[in-house]
Amino acid sequence: MTPEGRAWVRENILLGQSVRDYLRSLVTPWNLVGAAIVAVGLPVIIARFIWGLGATTNLSNTNPWGIWLGFDMFFGVAIATGGFAMVVGVYILGRTEYKPMVRPAILTGFLGYALAVFGLAIDLGRPWRLPYPLFVSMGTASVMFLVAEHLFLYITIQFLEFLPAAVEWLRLRAVRAWLHRIHIGAVILGSVLVMGHQSALGALFLLMPTRLHPLWYSPYLPYLFFASCVAGGIAMLVVESLVSHKVFGHKLSHNDHETIDRLTLGLGKAAMFALFAYLGLKLLSIAHGMSWNHIFTGWGAWWAVEIVAGIALPSVLFLLGIWRESATLVRWGSVVTVLGLLLNRMNVAVIALNWNLPDRYVPSWMEIAVSATLVVFGVWIFRWIVNRMPILNRLPEFPDHD
């Protein structure tokens, strides 16, 4: 390697340290926890491809979907909506004060989607045929096909939206200029695709009125999924900016506490309205389905937990937070919103599905290990990129001008 090359690697990959110092800097308690999880999960992923789903999962003929779909796919894709909410807010609605949050939002979104697809590839019986529905044997009347098509296109768009940070890091001026030109087109097309596939994920369950518990089944499922993913996606941005601020605080030169609190309050307001819409739709769907008689059963109690703890509680936290101008309350509200979204997706895709059929599904430890591994990968990739590319900060030679 030439001396220039070595210098480049040192500066851009090793964060200005020698190889030894860099490696030493990786040995932290949290990294050890992560490494322990990956050390369990990675062999399981390999085992799944050698011995099949039967050897690694608790899936059955009655419960063919487990946490690799419920958590990795349905929840992962839902909390990744923040990227969409942010670009619409900043570029379409012109809320330019949120610009500093656009890049982290896009990165979170992109990684969320990419990992969801990775999880899907582990879950599919024949992942090597992933392109079949798109190019070989298209089931155009299938909602699942719609999901696949929109996801595929949207991940491409998100990659394009993420790319500016990468090419600035690599100082590729020409590519940067070109990306700049297609930017707004990508934003618009991406928004359409998000609405399409987020609602389609809910529409997948429209075929299952006899298998999904009546408290969760509703003809409104597509709209419930969309409203909740917007609320959850925005809440995830708050959570993520909270963590970023703690971990990467030194990078946020232009983001003082006050600005961050103000933006957090703004995001809280947006998330709150989305939650209100979601709660309204949710109650309407019960009234519409006349499912009140299920409320006083065990399932009803579980449903109430989701509604009260997952939607009503964060709504109140947001409301109080905005009223008292307390960013802390909004942050709590956001954490609870994300957990509530997790509960909802797990309920619809796993727990309340096949509720009246005899065998119940409980994930195997191997399934949990793989899902946890994907989360660790997500955190690691996020951190690797943020430490190198202009995500939270801007490079002097590429001022902020999109």
């Binding site: 009655t62 045929r129 070989v136 609405m195 075929l207």
Partner: protein, 310 residues
């Protein structure tokens, strides 16, 4: 879009140009999306063909001998040991179909002390099946003769078909890492010409399973219900989910022997048609709407920036 939004002094004319360009972009996106497959506004409808074949199962005739299970094992090369079909032990619990059992006979006790009823279950061969509409890879097919068949060569293994089936019939080869298939009864589609009837219908010693044209079988079922007041006045599968190609009649109410009650009479896929048809509308209107909002926002920002300048 344009790089110098803050230098609006020379940008006056841009906003109109931009607006047009955006309209073009929006229009292009709108025009392109309907070309994407999957925006099918009219999902295929399968009208029941008059020659549709079907199976009529008279539960009052079944004695639980399970020769149909054994015949299915042989005809479909499911690989189970024949001895499995000799023992009555299996009746101790309610079984479901799995990758090597396309049909199962269960012993159902309708009420305390009542005589048991043997119920044979398998794919219902719905006339407009949820599994067919679920599959993103078109692996399932409803054939003109009534059978719903599966093609493992295009299946990606998402198992949506299994989740979508109202009767939870399709099963999966979870133990296969390299070519797992969805497995279910195909009405002996592939050798029905040779055999003249599905294996189970050919073998039944009690004539509890008869095979023929659906119309004819419904006539036959009606006749039996009329002649004998002991039958429940209902042909299960005649109207459920828009009709199925497996029909049941019984002397014991269906809800007491494990049949789902209150099934919609509409075919299941209909539940998705409304949603599927909103997608092209979304594809056309949304880009234009967003582009419109964007241009308004842009103009406002430009004007504001200009104010700041002056």
């Amino acid at each position: 879009m344009t790089t110098n939004t803050t230098n609006t002094s020379c940008d006056k004319s841009v906003s109109r140009k931009d607006f047009l360009r955006l309209m073009f972009l929006g229009g292009a996106a709108a025009a392109a999306t309907p070309l994407l497959p999957g925006t099918a506004s009219a999902a295929p409808r399968i009208e029941l063909h008059k020659d549709t074949l079907a199976v009529l199962i008279d539960l009052s005739r079944c004695i639980g001998c399970r020769s149909c299970e054994a015949a299915c094992n042989e005809a479909n090369h499911l690989g189970n040991h024949p001895a499995e079909y000799e023992s009555d032990k299996v009746f101790d619990e309610i079984r479901r179909t799995d990758a090597t059992h396309f049909t199962v006979v269960n012993k159902r006790i309708p009420a305390e002390g009542a005589a048991p009823v043997f119920v044979k279950n398998q794919c219902m061969h719905c006339s407009e099946p949820a599994c067919v509409s679920a599959c993103p890879a078109r692996a399932f097919e409803k054939n003109i003769n009534g059978a719903v068949t599966y093609n493992p060569d295009v299946c990606i293994g998402c198992r949506y078909c299994m989740q979508a089936c109202t009767f939870a019939m399709p099963a999966y080869e979870y133990d296969s890492a390299f070519d797992p298939r969805v497995r279910k009864c195909e009405m002996c589609f592939h050798n029905i010409d040779k055999q003249g009837a599905p294996a189970c219908a050919s073998i039944c010693p009690q004539d509890a399973i008869v095979f023929g044209r659906r119309e004819v079988l419904i006539e036959e079922a009606r006749k039996r219900l009329e002649k004998d007041a002991g039958y429940v006045k209902h042909i299960f599968g005649e109207k459920e989910l828009g009709g199925t190609s497996v029909l049941y009649i019984s002397r014991v109410p269906f809800d007491q022997i494990g049949f789902p009650t209150n099934l919609p009479l509409e075919p299941m896929p209909k539940a998705t048609y409304g949603f599927l048809s909103t997608i092209p509308v979304l594809h056309i209107t949304l880009p234009v709407l967003l582009a419109g909002i964007y241009s308004v926002t842009r103009r406002r920002d430009d004007a504001r920036a200009e104010d700041d300048h002056e």
